[in-house]
């Protein structure tokens, strides 16, 4: 009998397919993974600690930097949480809610494009990467037009939005969603029948529905295991109950199933964006709650009262009642939640972020166990992790 010895290999934190600074300690028997131990925290910036020193309005830019591939979803989760804490959820104007949904879905496309691009690149399909980044660039341009930034948008505000849509923006979105379904067909054309792609992801990273729920998977990763759960439909927020869309579920439990779910979700996002454009009507973009929300920018730059108002709201901060709330939203990666504790002061007493990627990554050791080392790359890709959100 041959003597076998396991070998410990260090993967990351400087490794192109770990999608950031993720370190995996792999115990290998030949090419088979016996055990994987993730090490995280290389990007820990103490967002939760920092937020305790800031007013509720000042925390918002920090949330952009969590899941930096879907900044508007973090903003959305945070502003919805603060609005719930202040009890002004009902006061948000219809136009603001519709634009929030529209931007959230555009952001979902943006995040899924990066996921598909990197996932395919890791497995060797480089063409898809270039195509996806071409379309992502269109979204980046929209972001820039809307908020001035390509990634850290910081566009939503507690009570509404920082600014109305710029001129011509709706036409940009419309021309984007007109071409997007064709592009999704292209990606599927490049991948679905590709025998290498099939062999690399079918039957890889299998996790049963029961195990997935136990380990806390959420979002497309959970729906790929056949669990029909989507917060947009099941605990609707920001008016999602008014849109007609399908929750995409696959029964395969493997990387292929999660690939099918995410591509189907991209098509559903296009459908939702089209509905938001049809519903969009002129109206206010900020709730009428001057004690809590920021004044319109034109008042701030033109009147002394507006300037003082803005200064008071930013530096002192509005004070919610003593209490605690949790608000979860369906991020492209899964459930992102904010748990806020208020002690009645102008700053959050405690802000806990429930990051989707952090919890999803926890499933990695059991998914790679017994698989080949090359599958580790496919499984990291299919979990769609972002280290900014994991390490906070």
């Amino acid at each position: 009998m041959a003597l076998t010895e396991t070998m410990t290999v260090n993967m990351g934190p400087q490794h192109p397919s770990t999608h950031g600074v993720l370190q995996l300690i792999l115990e290998l028997d030949g090419e088979t993974v016996i055990k994987a131990t993730p090490h995280i925290g290389f990007l820990h910036r103490g967002v939760e600690k920092l937020s305790e020193e800031r007013t509720y309005h000042q925390v918002l830019p920090l949330t952009d930097r969590l899941d930096y591939l879907a900044p508007m979803h973090n903003n959305l989760a945070y502003v919805l949480a603060v609005e719930k804490l202040f009890g002004i959820t009902e006061a948000i104007p219809e136009r603001a809610k519709t634009i929030r949904v529209m931007m959230a879905e555009i952001t979902r496309l943006k995040s899924h494009l990066v996921w598909l691009a990197c996932h395919a690149l890791d497995i060797g399909a480089m063409t898809v990467f270039l195509y996806c980044f071409r379309e992502r660039e269109m979204i980046m341009d929209m972001y820039e037009k809307l908020s001035g930034a390509r990634m850290t948008s910081n566009y939503f505000r507690v009570g509404g939005l920082s600014a109305d849509l710029p001129a011509g923006f709706e036409a940009d979105v419309r021309s984007f969603i007109d071409v997007m379904p064709g592009h999704i067909d292209t990606y599927e054309g490049l991948l679905n029948g590709n025998i290498i792609w099939q062999k690399r992801i079918q039957g890889v990273g299998v996790i049963s529905a029961e195990d997935a729920i136990d380990i806390g998977l959420s979002g497309p990763s959970l729906r790929g295991s056949g669990v029909d759960w989507d917060l947009r439909r099941d605990n609707p927020y920001s008016g999602y109950e008014n849109y007609d869309f399908k929750v995409c579920v696959e029964q395969g439990c493997d990387t292929w199933a999660r690939y099918r779910v995410r591509l189907a979700e991209m098509r559903e996002s296009v459908k939702i964006i089209r509905q938001t454009l049809d519903r969009l009507q002129a109206g206010p973009i900020m709730a009428d709650c001057p004690k809590i929300c920021l004044p319109p920018k034109k008042d701030v730059v033109n009147t002394i009262e507006g300037l003082i108002h803005q200064f008071k709201i930013i530096s002192d901060g509005p004070k919610p009642e003593v209490g605690e709330i949790y608000q979860g939203v369906e991020n492209p990666k899964g459930e992102v939640g904010f748990y806020l504790v208020s002690d009645g002061s102008g700053r959050p007493y405690r802000m806990k972020i429930r990051p989707a990627s952090f919890v999803n990554l926890q499933a990695l050791p059991q998914m790679v166990q017994g698989r080949m080392i090359a599958d580790v790359v496919a499984i990291i890709g299919t979990l769609d992790i972002v280290l900014g959100e994991i390490d906070r």
Binding site: I40, G41, D214, N235, I325, G337, Y349, R350
Partner: protein
């Protein structure tokens, strides 16, 4: 099944362990005795369908409450889409709670994070190590008596030049 029914059932089953039930913005919070947390969590998972632990975290109430810490469990029921929050008070001199990692596997990393950032220890945890901070870090950064700029540094004075 509404959340009131769940709370009533819980009261019937663990009458002596339910310390307080609070409602705020339509969310229900139940404060329970820390000795019973694993039994209560198992019951809620098995009998009331709270199969998904959304989040687990600690809160430091330094100088605000008799028991310094609270450990907070945000539960979710994937079938009924109901949410329920459990809390247990943890004293500073005995900062330990029984781990619920045996009830929901996802609690593993959440509890590691809670230990790392707040210094609340979990009994029977499978692998209680630091997770976000380096392994040799001293102190627990999310405690209220831990300075925001880090240890041994003067507080940031702002960019006045």
């Amino acid at each position: 099944m509404s959340i009131e029914v769940v709370v009533e059932n819980l009261k019937g089953k663990f009458a002596a362990s339910i310390l307080e039930v609070a409602e705020f913005r339509g969310e229900t919070t139940v404060i329970v005795k820390k000795e019973e947390i694993v039994a209560i969590c198992s019951y809620l998972k098995m009998s009331e369908g709270f199969n998904f632990l959304s989040d687990l975290c600690g809160v430091d109430y330094l100088g605000k409450k008799d028991d310094r810490f609270m450990v907070v469990y945000n539960l979710y029921n994937i079938s009924t889409h109901a949410r329920l929050r459990l809390k247990v008070a943890v004293a500073e001199k005995d900062a330990t709670v029984d781990s619920v990692a045996s009830v929901w596997g996802t609690a593993n990393w959440h509890e590691r994070e809670c230990w790392d950032l707040l210094g609340i220890s979990f009994n029977n945890h499978p692998d209680l190590r630091r997770i976000l901070m380096p392994a040799d870090w001293v102190g627990h950064p999310l405690r209220k008596d831990y300075p925001v700029q880090g240890p041994d540094r003067a507080p940031y004075q702002g960019g006045l030049s």
